[in-house]
Symmetry: C2
DNA sequence: ACCTGAACACCGTTCAAGT
DNA sequence: ACCTGAACACCGTTCAAGT
């Protein structure tokens, strides 16, 4: 949908159109020529507004980092509140896969997670951890959350597996445990797995 | 270093040169023209041997998957052996960052991890878990290992953080805990963090 | 201040032609 | 069976020129 010709092209117009392209089809779909076509202008006017492709992407990343912020923990115990933070983060991350991937690539994950990190510090403190030990717990949780979402995304994007998942697991291979073989042959229930793993880790770290 | 002109170019020559380029500078450094220059041939002879760029990368990925295999757990208890598997995997993954990233992108992580997965099943079984519960434990550990390495890589590749890490954390923000603030301001000790997090998770999952 | 087309140096890929 | 150069359709970017 080309933009109305009535008003002059603005930097915001360019950024919005670019964000749209990236959100829908990923950064590789953002070519300067496609973007120009989308906006109904010459390729070169884009350069006037945003410099070049790299700074354009950079700007989209900065926007995303700014947007990710509000964290409101819920639950009675510190452990429950930490788990609620972890779940909220996963949800937010999964809503913007392409943009988040770009934030990752540019090494701004840390900055993006600062608000959540502060909330985690608060909870870990409430659970009685202090100093270096508290810091390690916070980081272990952060790595877990981000790592899980990365792995999850990865699996979802993946094309058909070379050997289909089911073929890899037979009862013989699973030490004669057919139920185990069946469970490993099926795709994992990420929601449930995330909750189990998060709870296990948090409980172990907070020592409860 | 251009290859000797004495013998005919083989498919292996092409793959080796490509693997070198990718291992050193990442897949974006692999252009057909650079590769041809490296091999001292015309761009188009590469096509005769390997089809096109995509199948060339595909072949490198297949090689990498094949190479990652041998896992020999060590330790007395199942929990210790699981931790030893997790550590070995992290080491192997960190040795081939670019190639591993390509395996991830193509969704072959699962296949690559099958041998390790079988070892994990064995240990989880030895710890007394069965059926769906055992499967979930295995998967939680796998997600943890892969996720951790992904996050770690991510942080290492990252350029200078927009606000330097130290600036983000002051004692006020850390609930009046200077030691905590100091720990969060410094870059994490990944080795130690990995061990702590892995042990916490494994112990919680195996119920020991 | 904003927009334009032409031109440049790169890509991956195809193809007809050579040996 | 293997290799070649020419040509095509794409890129991002620069620049002098327009209004």
């Amino acid at each position: 949908m080309p933009r109305s010709q009535r008003t002059a092209l603005t930097r915001e117009d360019v950024l919005d159109a670019a964000a749209n392209l990236v959100a829908q089809h990923g950064p590789e779909a953002l070519t300067m020529r496609k973007l120009a076509a989308e906006l109904g202008t010459a390729v070169t006017s884009i350069y006037w507004h945003v410099g070049n492709r790299e700074t354009l992407l950079e700007e989209l990343v900065t926007r995303t980092v700014r947007e990710m912020g509000a964290i409101t923990p819920s639950g009675r115990t510190p452990a429950q509140r930490v788990v609620s933070i972890a779940r909220a983060q996963r949800r937010m991350l999964r809503e913007r896969p392409h943009l988040i991937a770009m934030v990752h690539e540019r090494g701004l994950t840390e900055l993006m997670f600062l608000p959540a990190q502060q909330a985690l510090v608060h909870e870990v403190h409430a659970a009685g951890l202090r100093g270096a030990r508290a810091a390690e717990a916070v980081r272990a949780i952060e790595f877990h959350v981000i790592g899980f979402v990365l792995v999850e995304r990865n699996r979802e994007r993946s094309p058909v597996q070379h050997p289909a998942e089911g073929d890899l697991w037979t009862a013989q291979r699973a030490d004669q445990d057919p139920a185990l073989a069946r469970a490993l042959a099926a795709p994992p229930n990420s929601e449930r797995l995330y909750l189990t793993a998060t709870r296990a880790l948090v409980n172990a770290l907070l020592g409860q």
